[in-house]
């Protein structure tokens, strides 16, 4: 199993396409960081103006933690598209180059191949997220410094103490990994049915875009199906950045406002991964390899 996993990892990291995602993330994050460094104060001023001029907010609002949050808000919607570039290419790429039959002449079972390829895709996805974490969090902390995290939400503002922020990011990245693996599992399953990469890549992207639009529409008809869509749960990483309050409206340090929402989302995403991977194993074992 380790041998074929190594082979799969070698194949993934040999292709230039793999590095497009890493380059795209680096470019996007750098763009946001340069923008915030140059004009972050205007952004903060605009956000503070929404408090109605009633408050004096002192301290370093534009710090590494806030920059990282802004980046994640913008990027975590798009990273799934980058994940599909590799995930949806796993089997279809082999079918396209005619190496799928050859692959199955090895002494490893079809199930082992599916699991090895999926593990390789998971490793790629995790590395992409680690890269994202290094640039969005660590680099932002180095460039902008750290302080309390002052978050502007639609209906309220949250202030999280500096020593209470880092673990939330670790948890959020952990959650994001689960969400990205779900996306990878969708692309991975679709790649089994195609003989070239374009079809499953575009199909996976279309599913993500379609479900994302659906989950943002506040229409009663769609609200009933939203809880079952994996895309709806991909945004639950934000729950780590909301604190519980006491009766006197004091935020409780180290707390999460709705921890059960996170647990629910983790379960939904986990079930999606298991079902999609199970389906991939089942379909690949039944598949008539003609290419």
């Amino acid at each position: 199993m380790w041998t074929i996993l190594q082979a799969e990892l070698f194949k993934i990291f040999k292709r230039p396409r793999t590095y497009i995602a890493f380059a795209a993330i680096a470019a996007l994050i750098t763009m946001v960081q340069v923008g915030m460094k140059a004009d972050g104060d205007s952004y903060v001023k605009f956000m503070l103006s929404t408090l109605g001029g009633n408050f004096d907010v002192q301290g370093k609002i534009m710090n590494g933690y806030l920059v990282c949050y802004i980046i994640l808000q913008m990027l975590l919607v798009h990273v799934p598209l980058l994940v599909t570039l590799i995930a949806a290419d796993t089997f279809s790429g082999e079918a396209n180059t005619g190496t799928l039959r050859l692959l199955l002449t090895t002494p490893y079972s079809r199930t082992q191949w599916v699991l090895a390829k999926f593990t390789a895709v998971v490793i790629y996805t995790l590395l992409l997220l680690v890269w994202l974490a290094i640039l969005a969090l660590v680099l932002s902390m180095a460039v902008f410094g750290t302080d309390d995290l002052f978050l502007f939400k639609s209906d309220y503002v949250v202030l999280i103490r500096e020593n209470d922020v880092f673990w939330r990011y670790c948890a959020a990245f952990g959650f994001a990994a689960l969400a990205m693996i779900t996306v990878a599992a969708v692309g991975f399953l679709l790649s089994i049915f195609a003989d070239n990469s374009i079809g499953p890549i575009v199909a996976t992207m279309s599913i993500i875009v379609f479900f994302s639009v659906l989950s943002t529409m506040n229409i009663p008809l769609y609200n009933t199906i939203k809880p079952y869509l994996f895309v709806t749960h991909m945004n639950s990483w934000k729950e780590f950045f909301d604190e519980r309050v006491t009766e006197n409206n004091e935020a409780v340090a180290g707390s999460i406002q709705y921890p059960m929402r996170i647990v629910h989302s983790v379960l939904v995403l986990g079930i999606h991964i298991l079902v999609l991977l199970g389906a991939a194993v089942w379909f690949f074992r039944k598949k008539d390899i003609l290419s």
Binding site: M47, T50, L51, G52, G53, N54, F55, D56, V57, Q58, G59, K60, I61, Q73, M74, D147, D148, F150, F152, K153, S154, D155, Y156, V157, V158, L159, I160, R161, E162, S215, T216, N218, T232, N235, K238, D242, E243, V245, N248, N249, E250, A251, V252, A253, Q257
Partner: protein, 241 residues
């Protein structure tokens, strides 16, 4: 007009004049009493040339989720005041919050008017309205609830031009001899807070942090509980910069 009617009118006028004289005299005496009371309170507060105080700040504003923070306040005569949070970001009501005990009552250029009696926290108080003589003053009117026995300001309602009206309720303890409170509750009106979801990128349905009634009354509260004071030990001016 008959003679009886005429003599009645003369007597009535005399009585009216007498009542007016008594009224004016009483009012003048009352104004003098109130001014004397304010002067006594001022003298008590005046014992403090400077202080440094440590405490905890609690914020209770419907749309703000802020944890309790440790703060330090500095005061130096005549009106230097600074509130500092130990590290991190602080959210404080604008303008009015810098109002401290000393600036509440130490503005000399004001007229004191008696406004009856009141009760604050079960303590009988004299209500005094302070009207600044300076037309350009930010403070339009300040109503003080003074505990006459202990010469302490228990409550102050201040209306300003720029920052609306705010109430300050003061509770005294071990530093009452210096007229320095152990607890200060600062209440003020807040405006609505709403950011478009396109700006916050939060398209999912969010729940509000406080119940609807709290959001409706739009009253914000900030509470400082002081744990210790260092009085008249001198403070460097650099602290206030």
């Amino acid at each position: 007009m008959n003679i009886a009617h005429h003599s009645f009118l003369v007597r009535y006028r005399r009585m009216l004049c007498l009542l007016c004289c008594i009224g004016f005299t009483a009012t003048a005496a009352q104004a003098q009493d109130v001014s004397a009371l304010v002067a006594k309170v001022r003298a008590k507060i005046d014992q403090v040339n400077d202080y440094t105080a440590e405490g905890r700040l609690k914020t209770n504003i419907a749309f703000l989720k802020v944890p309790v923070s440790r703060i330090k306040t500095y005061f130096k005569k005549p009106d230097k005041f600074r509130l500092r949070k130990e590290g991190g970001i602080s959210v404080l009501p604008k303008g009015g919050f810098s109002v401290n005990m000393q600036s509440l009552i130490l503005f000399n250029d004001a007229m004191a008017i008696a406004a009856g009696d009141g009760v604050v926290d079960g303590v009988k108080t004299k209500i005094v309205k302070l009207l600044p003589n300076n037309e350009n003053s930010d403070v339009i009117l300040s109503t003080l609830y003074i505990d006459e026995t202990n010469l302490l300001v228990k409550k102050a309602v201040t209306t300003t031009r720029e920052n609306g009206t705010y109430d300050i309720t003061l509770t005294y303890g071990q530093y009452a001899a210096y007229a320095l409170p152990d607890k200060v509750i600062f209440a003020f009106n807040t405006k609505d807070y709403k950011l478009p979801k396109g700006v916050t990128l939060e398209f999912e349905d969010a729940e509000k942090p406080a119940d609807a009634s709290q959001l409706k009354n739009k009253k914000g509260k900030v509470e400082i509980v002081y744990s210790s004071y260092v009085i008249n030990k001198g403070i460097d001016d650099a602290v206030f910069k």
